[in-house]
Amino acid sequence: MVERRPALTVLTHLVLIIGVLIVAFPVYVTLVASTHTAQAIVQAPMPMIPGDQMLQNYAAVLVGSDAGAGSAAPVGRMMFVSLVSALTIALGKIAISLLSAFAIVYFRFPFRNFFFWAIFVTLMLPVEVRIGPTYEVVANLGMLNSYAGLTIPLIASATATFLFRQFFLTVPDELAEAARIDGAGPLRFFWDVLLPLSRTSIAALFVIQFIYGWNQYLWPLLVTTQEDMYPVVMGIKRMIAGGDAANDWNLIMATAILAMLPPAIVVLVMQRWFVKGLVETEK
């Protein structure tokens, strides 16, 4: 701080506290709603203090319930599908990007630059601009309603490849030279030298890509038609069917809390890498 201005300091904290409260308010409402009965919520105004139905509600959504107008598939299963998909997408992206970046940086071969640009150009082809034909491909390959269909088409990553390439270029040449003199082949060098050096970048990317994988919506909407393959982010939408009061909002809100929890935990626990990953992947 440059100078002491008590009034400004008070204003600073005031603005930040108001900001934090506004940001947190929707989640507070959700949390409160998830602890009441459906009847209590549909009476306007809904209660603003947590109720006593928390255990019942969360237990009901995790195993599935028959009440309500929308889908009542067990959320426990959806969480599992989401977790498997998010982990496969995050780890898959990291793995294939590490390999491609290693090939592009440490080898000389025909069309090297062409391939690099081909990977780079995929940045300009998000799912949204090719949804119809991509769906057809996945359907023709028989990958609908499978983990392969949910994850493999999302595993290619221009940003991760770019990030690892940038990082490998900063690794001193002496390391590769030393490894070669010691008789280590390229794969040995990759495994024993490059991979340990890339730990921070990998952690940073993992946070970003796990959130990306967990939060997928449009793609699962296209490739899954069976309730037992719904990721939770998509399943929650299916629970909303009727008008305002016809839904079991307490259960929907409990599902929302469950759907938010894993990525929020990853962000909070790995905050340092998260910020690093966010800033670096966009560079």
Binding site: L8, V15, V29, A44, A95, G132, N215, L222, L268
Partner: protein
Amino acid sequence: MEKRVRFRSTWLPWALLAPQLVIIGVFFFWPAAQALLQSVQIQDAFGATREFVGLENFRNLFADETYVGSFKTTAVFSILVAAFGISIALMLAVFADRVLRGATIYKTLLVWPYAVAPAVAGVLWLFMFAPSIGIIPYLLRSIGYEWNHLLNGDQAMGLIVMAAVWKQISYNFLFFLAGLQGIPKSLIEAAAIDGAGPWRRFWTIVFPLLSPVTFFLLVINIVYAFFETFAIIDASTQGGPGKDTAILVYKVYYDGFKGLDLGSSAAQSVVLMVIVIALTVVQFRYVEKKVQY
């Protein structure tokens, strides 16, 4: 930049690249090429016959009032999202940068919405604003304002803008905070010695120095509003009432998967492709050179 030391192998680099190349070939380039092809064809809904029609799909598209309307909706939506998202985040970042004690706590409490899925954000805001049971319409009614986004298109737009901004603030906030921390303190101190107050210092020193970050975020936020908010809209307003919140991406999905109009959907995909390419070029041409961390 090139490496001086390389490994020699004729097959290994290909094997290393193979997984990535197979995926981008099968799931990116082939479908994109198909979209280009289908955009100049007319196909019946069962895929039995195809006929080359040139640019007719595009002509129909731009003659279609709902499509042109969707362009306007998208423009309004992305401008609102970018403007609110950037200015609110900038304000919070400037204040958070001033805080000496408790800065990390504020930061932690402001970054987590990044982790919330857009679809979940849509559901949360939908619930708060549900006309008959939501808490906010109840409060608004008590001050005499009737909220019903199921009937009022402007209110529906307001709802998705709020949900989209809420989710994006943490991202903008982190970038502004990083930008602010990169500004040399000596500049600010010099201005303070010369008698410039905080308000003046912000507009004459801090804001101009942040302009590369602001521009970068402007592009990113527009891309976000165009492409990543599909889930927010599908979970809250579903493009309604009428077509008042049907942005371009929503319309591609709707026409292709609900309306089964493949030619039109492919033509819309191609239009979107052009938009992404333009935005990416802008981002790399103007941002790469100027943004420094």
